[in-house]
Symmetry: C2
Subunit: 155 residues, 2 copies
Amino acid sequence: MAKEIERKFLVESDDWRKEVDEQSVIRQGYIASMEDRAVRVRILNQDRARLTIKIGRGGMTRDEFEYDIPVGDAEELLQAAFGTIIEKTRHCIRRGDYTWEVDVFAGAHEGLIVAEVEMDAEDEEPALPDWLGREVTGDDRYSNFALATAGLEGA
Amino acid sequence: MAKEIERKFLVESDDWRKEVDEQSVIRQGYIASMEDRAVRVRILNQDRARLTIKIGRGGMTRDEFEYDIPVGDAEELLQAAFGTIIEKTRHCIRRGDYTWEVDVFAGAHEGLIVAEVEMDAEDEEPALPDWLGREVTGDDRYSNFALATAGLEGA
């Protein structure tokens, strides 16, 4: 099990586009969720897939259990996902010791751009790029889970 | 993904004990569940662990996605399981082309004994051992999920 410690921001300008080191196309969906936990399946660039269990809600830190699974299984699991399949292109930008991930959403959430940075401890203070907008760390409305289930009854 | 096609029975006599080919100790719990699906973690004989997603409820057949995971992860996931951790000893009994699994529950469900047989198709008709009692296939009260969450609000 790993700890996922991250801060999340909206994005204010397009200046990040000049700094992109690499990018990947992500499709993901949720198989189950309850209270503080969610089980997610993700396909990366059509050739790798992962099953992830995240436990802990709100705040910066969550427990994360992540396993590679066959892409064929992931496709079948995505068909059983509830809510919307999230499609986004992830852009990685390395700055000092940190990697910023800028997710540009497509499909149902076209127009949304969110930047995240993963840290090793909650008290780290990565330098914040100028192109960041408002911080939304811990704001469940911007969780991928909320985006996948927006509009669902009870979600 | 595999299809899990199985029939399940209560057990009427102890005669199965003479036929046991092998046995293993199982601890398992549920990480999440929704409607027709459940995510389960299981530790076998303290030295192997698996994460399983089952989709489909009632009836004989469910989709099953199963992955080996590190035992240490499984122990941590069990701590995050909701409801009761199920403890049981599984006894395998081979009869012709079929393997019967007789689960003797311990802990919260001490006294319960359930026998299952896995098949390749719903129309197969494995010979039924004399020691079987009432069939409970599709009876959700005897699902391991129901046993794990018995007494929980809303379960």
